[in-house]
């Protein structure tokens, strides 16, 4: 079980706990990259998904775009963009956003599509505006599924944001990439453990958001 030994050695080394290469600093950077990428992806995926889901048009086009976006290799895209544009935050954000948009888009679309039509018809019959129907009837009911799409996108971003280190940025990927080139497996395992823990924390955050945001009427106990 030398992996566990690596984990133990990595976290008990006090040198890993402060300075610009310390765990808190790297963790903060990683969270920043991930949050930014998720925000950008949600800003693209949510409105489009809600709109197409509400009107029920463009489902096939959406599926095609999602497939095409999924097919683009994140790592290859990153290297290509860096070769073309040079180093920076933007080259890292582009592949991460492309990675995260399809799950958000497709799940949001499906979530709004599969809302029980009777309350929607009732709302329409009472003279509600389409926009109010979307935000006050369909959105609350579709929220659990929408959150699950955001959640899986967030997990993928947290895991993939490690590639930022490959193009000289920070984040938890630093430990993995540096460890690879220094043949320091303790560092690699430590970095991987931190990323996995961060992903689990992300899951927990989404669970909490779901508890708070989903209306008790939708959440069947």
């Amino acid at each position: 079980m030398n992996v566990l030994n690596f984990v133990n050695a990595f976290f008990s080394d006090s040198a890993h706990w402060h300075g610009y290469d310390g765990i808190p600093q790297r963790l903060l950077e990683h969270v920043q990259y991930s949050a930014l990428a998720l925000a950008l992806a949600a800003a693209i995926g949510l409105p489009v998904g809600l709109l197409t889901g509400h009107t029920g048009r463009g489902g096939n086009a959406l599926a095609f775009i999602a497939t095409a976006a999924r097919a683009l290799p994140s790592f290859g895209l990153l290297v290509l963009i860096v070769i073309v544009m040079g180093f920076g935050l933007l080259p890292v954000m582009i592949p991460l956003v492309i990675l995260a948009v399809p799950p958000i888009l497709v799940t949001t679309y499906e979530a709004v599509r599969t809302v029980d039509p009777s309350p929607v018809d009732a709302a329409r019959g009472m003279g509600m505006h389409e926009s109010r129907i979307l935000f006050q009837v369909e959105l609350p009911v579709a929220l659990p599924l929408i959150l699950s799409g955001l959640r899986s996108a967030a997990i993928q971003i947290v895991s993939t944001a490690t590639i930022a280190a490959y193009v000289s940025l920070g984040g938890l990927g630093r430990y993995i990439v540096d460890g690879l080139y220094q043949r320091d497996y303790e560092k690699v395992v430590g970095g991987a453990t931190l990323v996995a823990v961060l992903a689990l924390v992300t899951l927990a955050v989404f669970w909490a958001v779901g508890r708070l945001a989903v209306s008790p009427g939708v959440r069947r106990r």
Binding site: G56, N60, P117, I163, I176, L200
Partner: protein
């Protein structure tokens, strides 16, 4: 003369050779994942309490970045194709187990009862009734697993040029030939889209009783039975 398809000799493969290598490295793990996922999913269907822990364990593995996974495995399997394939098989498992469980669970109770009444044993019932009905859900899982597998093989270039088409990325930087990186990204994307399309075709062939073409049903006009809570918490 630096051509688009001028593969540097250090990769020891032609363009088509790289494609073949890439497909092998990407598809074998998905196949292995499927073979592992089928019995595992069956166990999860049979013993309900098993599903949550299995999902939890696979989610943790899914959260481990592929590069870290590769590097940790170098200790055990060296800088080989196998080192790239093992994590990909694990990732496939994560996608496939829930897909198969949902698919098998979606078989209506009366269908199962009818099969039992016709004298089908549990094994025959599973192979001839439950699996075929679960095919659309399984193929949906396979599509996601295959596409992400094809995309992730490229990362293998970082552990001693084990990334098939991804090795072009390293060479693009080494020899300052950006067109190699363009070639790598485009070829990988096309491979993924072609495999995805083939899987859709496979679903159409395997499920002749399903309406072809559009998978998207029109918005249901009748009240759908709400899914059970455990299906929503996914």
């Amino acid at each position: 003369m630096n051509g688009f398809f001028d593969i540097p000799s250090d990769l020891q493969h032609s363009y088509l050779g790289l494609i073949g290598l890439h497909l092998r490295e990407a598809l074998l793990p998905v196949l292995a994942g499927l073979l592992l996922a089928l019995p595992l999913a069956q166990l999860c269907v049979r013993f309900r309490w098993l599903y949550a822990p299995v999902l939890g364990a696979t989610t943790i593995f899914y959260a481990v970045p592929s590069l870290a996974f590769f590097v940790v495995l170098i200790d055990y399997t060296g800088q080989t194709e196998l080192t790239v394939m093992i994590p990909l098989a694990v990732y496939s498992l994560v996608v496939l187990v829930p897909a198969i469980v949902d698919g098998v669970r979606s078989v209506p109770q009366e269908t199962l009862a009818a099969a039992t009444a016709m004298g089908f044993g549990p094994v025959r019932r599973y192979l001839q009734v439950q699996l075929p009905i679960a095919v659309p859900a399984i193929i949906a899982g396979l599509r996601v697993a295959t596409v992400s597998s094809i995309s992730l093989v490229s990362v293998g270039t970082l552990i001693g040029n084990q990334g098939a088409l991804g090795n072009l990325l390293a060479d693009a930087q080494k020899y300052d030939r950006p067109e190699l990186a363009v070639n790598s990204v485009i070829t990988t994307a096309v491979l993924a889209i072609v495999c995805d399309a083939l899987l859709v075709l496979l679903r159409v062939v395997l499920t002749p009783w399903m309406p072809n073409g559009t998978r998207r049903r029109p918005k249901p006009r009748v009240r759908r039975r709400l899914p059970a809570p455990q299906d929503v918490t996914r």
